[in-house]
Every structure is written in C-alpha cells, then in structure tokens.
Amino acid sequence: MDLEVIVANLPLYVQGLWVTVQLVALALVAGLLLAVPLAILAASPNPAVQFLPKAYIYVMRGTPLLVQMYVIYFGLAQFDSVRESFLWPVLKEAYWCALLSFSLNTAGYTAEILRGAIQQTPFGEVEAGRACGMSRSVIYRRIILPSAFRRALPAYGNEVIFMLHGSAVAGVITIIDLFGAARIVNSRHFVPFDAFITAGLFYLALTFLIVGVFKVWEKRWFAHLNPREH
C-alpha cells in the first residue's frame, strides 16, 4: 500500500464520504415518502388500483440502477421540451439526476417490502380497530402502518445497505462521491489497488454502522417480543 498517497488524499475521500452519505440519506427519505402511498395502493384488493403501482415496482426492481440513472441523466436531454422547461437547470446536473434516480429506485424496492408487510397484518388487529369504530384512514394510521413498519424493519435494513452500495454508480457520472474520489486518486497517481481498497474500507465501515443502527432499532421496536425478564 502506498500510504502516503492515501493519507495525502484523505480530505478528498472525506469529501466523497459526505456526498455519498448525503445522496443516500436524501434518496432514502424521498423514496420512503413515495413508497408509503405506493405500497398502500399495491396492497389494495382491487386489481385496477393495484395495477399501476405494481407495474412501477416491477420495472424498478427489474432493471439495473445504472440504466435507470442513464435514462434520466443522458436520456432526458433528448427531448426539447425537457431542455426548454424550467426544470432543466436541475435536470442537467449530475447530482440531481443521481438523486432522482436513486429515490425512484429505492421507492420501488421499499414499496414492495411495505406491501408485503401491510398484507401480513393479522386480520384480528384490523377487526379490533373496526370494532372500536375507527374509520379506514384511522385504521391505516394507527394500526396497519405502525405494525407494518415494524415487520418491515429487517428487510428495510437490507434495502438501506443496497442503496448505499448502489449509490457508488454516481461516481460514473462525474459525481465525486466515495467511488468518484477513488477514481480521481487512481487517475492522478495510478495506484488502483490502494485507491479503490480505501474507498472499499469506507463503504465497509458505513455498512457496519448501518447494520449496528438497525440492530439497536430492532431491539427497541421488537422489545415486546423479547422473553419476559423476572
């Protein structure tokens, strides 16, 4: 390992780390906000209501994130209407294109996780809500969604890790995230092993951090399932 080069470029890596964390966090928040209504619609017993959200989920899960990002970043410029619209200053920036495609992508995966969790709600819980005179929206807000979020937590933890790893493709379209930083270090000093392994270690650390956080959350949210302490 050429430690001197790596140490000299640590500020670049830290800057990249910050961009990665930012991209992933914003995409996860936007994705989750989009995923909740999608999941509720996809879990509906009515096939006509299910159709569009399910098709969206299928397309997002069935195509590579890299291609989705290319469609938005390189593809949208094909249309004059997009280039002339007020959104163009945003859509021509690699950063916003990456954020948009990540959000849409994680919304698809998260919606599928939530849909499964919503459909697994024990019927007795819903029935109890009805017996108390709750309306459908109140049942969703107070019963179905909280218990579905809890059930979805382990699978959602995996999705967060997938999003973190998927976000590395941002480095391909000129964004200086962790992977982009490693590419710069490699092209300046030609130390491929050292440059990419350093980025890999940062990602590994982030992964462990996410796993740790979700363990704590699971412990808290599943506290009622723990064996009783006497």
């Binding site: 890299l66 291609v67 469609v71 390189f74 094909q78 973190l164 992977f179 491929p192 092993f193």
Partner: protein, 251 residues
C-alpha cells in the same frame, strides 16, 4: 401521443437495435451465465466451509462473505480489474527476474499480460455472488432434517457420499428462493461491466444513442431487454421450484 412516439422511435431502432444492441444482449447473457457458474461453485465451497468443523475454514469463509457483502460491486470490480492487472504483472516480472537471477533452466514469468474486461467482469461478478450464494446454500443445507443425514451415515455412506446423495439434493429446494433472488440481482449487476469497457448492451446503447442522438430511446430499449431477462428467469425459477418440490405437500 403518436407524434411523440414517432419522434422517439422514428427509424432509429432498425439496424441499430438489431443486430447491434441484441448482440450486446448476447454478451450480457454470456457474462451473466458464466459468472453464475463461478458463483455456484464458490457458493457451494463457502457453504461447506462455513458449516465445517475446521475453525480456519469457517474464519476464511466468514471474512470472505462479510467483506464482499460490505463493499459495492462496482468498487470490487475496479479493485479486481485494475488492481488485479497490476498484481498479475508485478508477479510475472518478479518471477521473471527471479528465474534470470538464478539461471533457472526454464524461464518462468511474463513481461505483460492484459486481463480482458470480459475475464475481469466474469471473475468479479462470480466472486461477489459466490458470497451471496454461500449464505443461501448454507441456509438450505441447515434446513435438511438431521435424521436424513444420520440415515445416510447409518447405511455406511462416506461423508462425501452423504453430501452428494442426500444433503445437497435435499437442500436445493430450500435454497431455491434465495438462489432465484441472487440470480435476478446478478443479471442486473452485469450492467456494470459496461463501465470497464465491455461491449454489453448498456455500452452499445450508449454508443448507438450517441450516434443518432437518441440516448433516451436506446437506454429505454435496454431497460426493456433487462425486463425480458427478468421475466424469462421468473418462468425458469418457477419451473425449477415445481421440479424440486415434487412430493412436498402445500397447504
């Protein structure tokens, strides 16, 4: 709507789409299948190592699966493609110097070997998904009832015989859902080989889309082709599932 569609598809797809993009799809499928083969072998070895009595084997397997699953595939691909290149050549030169310095009768080593993007792509993806397959197979093997394995031993089968005749075939059914998921993720991961210069369908969509100034059209076409791969795989996985669940009663 009609005008919009003509502006998107107007004449560009013929000639470019077939054969140019479809040939790229053939390469995508080749990379996917070859890396699947490697991943299956590595996964099986990993699963056996993880369940073995040897502490060293367990540690190596655990480090492998933890590290691989903690680093993005594109980063691993660059480590192996660029780093592997440097390592192979440093080793070759070192060997060459050594054999010249000691006047070995046979000259070993090499000046420069280029690892092709195809080899690097297949090895990286195979190596990555070997870790995921290892976890899946481990779960499958653990789901085989202990009594079946004991029955094998009672018949006087050797440990290898028990594994290949009982444990492995019986574990397939339990490992299939995880295997199916891994395969679908693997197929999509092949898109990354375009970044290291392999002319798969994503790479070709970039050049064709650039040439006729219709990037959206070509990336969309590639997205649809990925959906075709996913849909065909779904049918295949369901067929396998039926085959390996013969004799299992479902509620």
């Amino acid at each position: 709507m009609h005008e919009f569609l003509t502006s998107v598809f107007d004449g560009v797809l013929d000639g470019y789409f077939y054969p140019f993009i479809l040939e790229g799809m053939l390469l995508t499928v080749q990379v996917a299948l070859l890396s699947l083969l490697l991943a299956l072998v590595l996964g099986l070895v990993t699963a056996v190592a993880k369940l073995s009595a040897s502490r060293a084997a367990r540690t190596v397997a655990n480090v492998y699966t933890t590290v691989i699953r903690g680093i993005p595939d594109i980063v691993l691909m660059f480590i192996i493609f660029f780093g592997g290149q440097v390592m192979v050549n440093d080793f070759g030169v070192w060997l060459l110097d050594l054999s010249e310095a000691h006047d070995w009768p046979v000259k070993l080593g090499w000046e420069y070997i280029e690892i092709s993007a195809f080899t690097a792509g297949v090895f990286t993806i195979g190596f990555i998904f070997g870790a995921y397959m290892g976890e899946t197979f481990r779960g499958g093997i653990m789901a085989v009832p202990r009594g079946e394995i004991e029955a094998g031993h009672a018949f006087g089968m050797s440990r290898a015989q028990v594994f290949f005749r009982i444990t492995f075939p019986a574990s397939v059914r339990h490992a299939l859902p995880g295997f199916g998921n891994n395969w679908l993720v693997l197929a999509k991961t092949t898109a990354l080989v375009s970044v290291i210069g392999l002319e798969d369908m994503v790479y070709r969509a970039a050049s064709a889309g650039g040439a006729v100034r219709k990037p959206f059209t070509f990336y969309l076409a590639v997205a649809v082709l990925y959906l075709v791969i996913t849909a065909v795989s779904d049918v295949g996985i369901r067929w396998l599932n039926r085959r390996y669940s013969v004799g299992v009663r479902n509620a």
